[in-house]
Structures are given as C-alpha cells and as structure tokens.
C-alpha cells in the first residue's frame, strides 16, 4: 500500500531545530496597534472631522496595522484570522450603537412621566398635563395576554404536530405556510381580523378580542417556529427511552419532550410576545382607542400602550409637551415590560433547562 509522500509546500513548517521558526506576535501587539489607531482617530476627530468618520478611521487603521504586521511576522493565514477577528468584534460593537442610541433616546425622553399618577390614572377627563396610562397598561396586558392564550397553545400544538406527528406532504405544506405567515404585514393582520369580526358581528365592531386575534396572526408563526426548532433538538434517544417504558405517545410528548425543550420554548414565546406587544397598526383598526379604563375585552374599545403613545404623538394637544412626554414614557414602559418578560423567560429557562452537571 502506498502512503502519500510528503509534499513540499510554501508555508511548510516543521518543529525541528533546523527548520525556520514561525513566530507569533506577542500578546500586547494588537493592543499597541489599537492604542496607535485610537490616538490617530482621536486626534483627527478633535481636529474637526466628525466623530463617526474618526471611529471609522480608527478601525480601518487598526485593521491595516495588525494585518500588515501579522502578515509579515506570522504569514497570510494568521493575518487573515486576525483581520476576521477584528471585523467580527467591530461588527458587534457597531450593532450595539443603535441599541444604545435607541435606549438613550427613550430613557432620556421617557423618564419625564415615570410618576405614580402615570401608572394609576387613565386619561379620562384629562386635558393638557397630568393623566396616565393605567387604562393602556391594563389594555395592553389583557390584549397581549389574550393573544398569548390563543397563540401559545395553538403554536405549540402546531409545533408538536410538525415534529411529532406530521408526515410527508402536509408537514411540508404547513412548514412552508408558517414561513409565509411570518411575512404577513401587521396592518394586513389587523384588517383581516377586522373583516372577520365585521362579517360576524356587523360593521363598526370594536373589542379587545379582535386585537388579540390580529396579534395572534402575527404571533402564532413565531411560536410555531421556535417550538419546532426546540423540539427538533430533543434527542430521539429520549423519545425511545420513554417508549421503551411503555409510555403512550401523548404522555411522552407532554412529560418528556416538552419539559426537555421548555427552556427554549419559553425564550421563543417571549420573543413572540415582544414581537406583538409593541404593535400599533393592527390595534389601530381593531380595538381603537379610549381615554377610559375598559376591563371587558369582549365589548368596546380599549386603550393600549403603543396606540395611545402613537395618538399622543401624532395628535398632541396645545401645548404638545404633556402629550409627547406621555408618549415617550409609554414607549419606555413598553420596553421595561418586554425586558421584564425576558427576565421571566430566563428564570424559566434556568429552572427547566436540562441539567447535566452536579
């Protein structure tokens, strides 16, 4: 049998004493380059060029510096590796920029009305200053809650169907349509829900449930997708283990598969809630707006945080500032709610995540 003979190659390297030694850059080298780059970028910025351009210059300079030196000392492969590392890190920092900017904007403008009245009063009878979003908080929680009540069972069951039951064409078709469903524009979902209810209950109908149905159209595909992905990750061995214990399929799914995937599903559900809790357009056409508290989701208009923020922003009173303050504070409140939900999901994940270590 023939064994491949050693082929000589350009970057061939051996560790014998005789062989040329390829060096690595000392660990401080990238930092030195970064310092130089920042110094130059900073100077240029101070000299009057815009900060953005300065930052770009800094990064470009750093990459050029590191790659050139690395190429000379360590060879092209290592240089490319370092370049990619820099690009990947900068990309991440770049993505943080809008996040920080959005949060800074919302926080700086939204703290104006983070007071007790804001959380405990509705806008009933309020003109100008004061008032609150109590009615919108209850509305948002109820409508989103209802949408969750509709979407989570349907979405999870559909995910279960796709992973555990579906075979052949129907599964492919449903998977495909779930993808299509994720692309329904939110306003179309709202119009659809409106048309559906108008068909049954006559024109002009407005109720919280309609909004919940519209939001469900947006939410279900997200829940299905995440459930499906998470269930797929559950190893088949666990299913077999349960079957071998004579566990009926439905119990196996409920007691073994879903608990194992629960952490991931919880994260997916929060993502889905986050996706819809801030929706404005579908609620505009389905639940409308009111200035008063309405705790009955089956009759009449309800206020919601995004819609009331939207109207406060679009049609403020005179002077506009109290309305705008309320709008930004409602926006901040929305973000806080979603963050709190995220935290809950993390706790659930932590509680239910499969444990392997002791």
């Amino acid at each position: 049998m023939s064994v491949p003979t050693r082929t000589e190659r350009e970057s061939d390297l051996t560790l014998t004493e005789a062989a040329p030694v390829r060096r690595t850059l000392p660990p401080w080298a990238p930092y030195a380059a970064l310092a130089v780059a920042i110094a130059v970028g900073g100077t240029v910025t101070l000299a009057g060029v815009s900060a953005g351009l300065g930052a770009v210059l800094t990064v470009v300079l750093y990459v050029a510096c590191v790659v050139t030196v690395s190429r000379l000392v360590e060879g092209p492969r290592k240089a490319k590796d370092r370049a990619v590392t820099t690009v990947v890190t900068s990309a991440f920092l770049l993505a943080l920029a809008p996040l920080i900017s959005v949060l800074a904007t919302v926080i700086s403008r939204g703290t104006a009305r983070m007071d007790v009245e804001f959380f405990t009063f509705s806008m009933r009878g309020v003109v100008g200053e004061g008032g609150g979003v109590y009615h919108a908080i209850t509305g948002t929680l109820m409508i989103t809650g209802l949408a969750t009540l509709i979407s989570v069972p349907v979405g999870m069951l559909c995910g279960v169907y796709l992973v555990e039951y579906a075979k052949g064409r129907l599964a492919t078709v449903i998977t495909f349509f779930v993808d299509v469903m994720t692309g329904i524009p939110s306003i179309v979902a709202g119009l659809f829900a409106y048309a559906l209810f108008a068909l049954i209950l006559g024109p002009g109908v407005r109720m919280g449930l309609m909004g919940a149905v519209a939001l469900s159209v947006l939410m279900i595909p997200v829940v299905v997708r995440s459930t499906e992905e998470m269930l797929k990750l559950v190893p088949n061995e666990l299913r077999e283990a349960a079957y071998a214990l004579a566990v009926p399929k439905w119990r196996m799914i409920l007691k073994v598969v879903i608990p194992t995937a629960l952490a991931g599903i919880a994260t997916g559900v929060t993502l889905a809630i986050a996706r819809v809790i801030g929706e404005t357009a579908p609620l505009l056409v389905t639940v409308g707006i009111t200035q008063s508290v309405n705790l009955n989701p089956f009759d009449g208009r309800m206020a919601t945080l995004p819609v009331s923020a939207y109207y406060q922003y679009v049609n403020p009173g005179v002077p506009p500032d109290p309305s705008l303050d309320r709008a930004w504070s409602a926006a901040l409140l929305l973000i806080i709610i979603v963050m709190a939900l995220n935290l809950v999901a993390r706790l659930i994940s932590h509680r239910f995540a499969p444990k392997s270590g002791g």
Partner: protein, 314 residues
Amino acid sequence: MPLSETPSAVARPRLRAGDRVFAGLSTGAGLLILFVLAGVAAFLLVEAWPALTAPPEEVPGGRGVALYVWPLLFGTALSAVFALLIAAPLAVTIALFVTYYAPRALAQGLGYLIDLLAAVPSIIYGLWGFTVLAPATVGPSGWLADNLGFIPLFAGPVSATGRTMLVAILVLAVMILPIITAVVREAFRQVPRLHEEAARALGATQWEMLRMAVLPFGRSAIIGASMLGLGRALGETMAVTIVLSVSGGVTVNLISSGNPSTIAADIALQFPESTGLAVNTLIASGLVLFAVTFAVNMAARTVINRRSEFSGAN
C-alpha cells in the same frame, strides 16, 4: 415486584383515548394555521377583487391597480432587500462573535443585549429614526452625494431632513438584525463540537475552522433566518410610515426626499381616509405583498433543499 400476569394486559384496543385526543388537537392546530392563512388569502382576494376588475381610471391615481402598486412594490423591495443586505452579514458576524469570539462568561449577556433590540416596539424605532437617526444622516449623505454622486444610489439632491430611503433601510436593518442573529446564533450553538475539533485538528485557524465547519453547517439556518428577517422587513408598517418621506416615483436614489413608499406603509398612511374602491386598491397591494412573500419563501426553500443532503442534519 408485581406484574399483571394476565395476558389481557396485551389485549386492549388500538389507540388510547389520550393519544387520539392529543393527536387530534395537534393536527387541528396545524390545520388551523392553514385555515387562517386561507382566510387571510381569501380576505385579500375578495376585498381586492373590485379594484382588480375596476376600470383603471377609477382606481386612485387613475391608471389602474398595476401602476398604483408598482412604485410601492419597488419601494418595498428596495428597502427590504437593502435592509437584508446590511443586516444578514452583520447578523452572521454577530452570531459568530457571540458564539465563538466573545469571552465565554460574557457571551450570554451579550446575546441578551442583542435580543433587547428585538424588544423595542416598531413605533419606537420609527420615532428614533425620525428624531435621532434622520438628522444624523444629513451630513454624511451630503458627503456621499458630493463624492459618490456618480453612483445612482447617491445621486442626490440630499434631503434637508434626512428622512430618506437610506434611513428607512437602516432602521429596517436594525429591526431585523436581532431576529436573524437569534436564529443563526442558535444554529451555531448546535454545531457539533466534533466538527469544530475536526477542523482544529487539521491545523485550521479560528477563522478557517468557522469557514470549514461552522458556516456551512449553519447555511440553511442563515437562509431561513434571512427569510424571516426579509418577511419582517417587507411587512414592517409603523416604522417606515413614520420615518420615510414618501413622495416620489420609482427611483433608486437613496438620499433624496422623494422616495417610493412601501406597500405596508402606504396602507397605513392611506387607509384612514380611504373609502370604497380606494380601500380595495390598498388591499390589492396587500395581496401583491402576500404573493411576494409567498414567492420569496418558495425560492428560499428551493435553495435550502438543493443542498439538503449536505446539510449535516443527520
């Protein structure tokens, strides 16, 4: 240990009630989704029909549905495709950063930070884009027009307020970034260690390992995630409505104030004051968007399936 010695233990009818109920429920849920979609499609068709069959001069704009929708479709595609072109590579790099570059202790927290972007309601993105991002782009846009004006994208004249297609694209990109990142990140997390080690053992650098083992493994997830993001960008309503200055025909000029609207934004802008055939026309444009989403997903499936035997899903 007690065991029912009776042979009857092996002699009960086929399917248990529990199984039947549960299988029925989940199948029902799957079918329900088909029904909902069929409902949405039927609603769009029925409501769009009067506009599709109406004489062109009665449709808003007076030149028929096709010519009404065309600039909107163009604007929708322009904004969504560019947003995707920005967001998808960025999302993949961020997912790589979180899974392979960030210090392990930080990775989870950093992932959470990016997820936070998904928690910002779209109306806030709209307001942020309007009040913060748009003014900030006026200067750089001027620079683009002066220096790169020969490229049609940056032809100018520059908008005085910055509420341009460029800003709409950037806002959309930021909005879809966390969605794509989250899906791709999960896919990267599932890359078997074995494959990473295989690459490393061959003497691959970090980047070569990623290119050899991780990126191909995540390929279908990257495409799928991009489709999710594209779907969101195509259908985004409020942010575009607030941010974009829509008063132009079909143009690829990204930095002037005359921009084509998008289908979803146009519906949101025109619906409140529309009656009769105008409403039908708006819904016809929604139908077109639905068809586009359909086609895009179809194409994505085809791409994914073409190399499915190399997907590593076995």
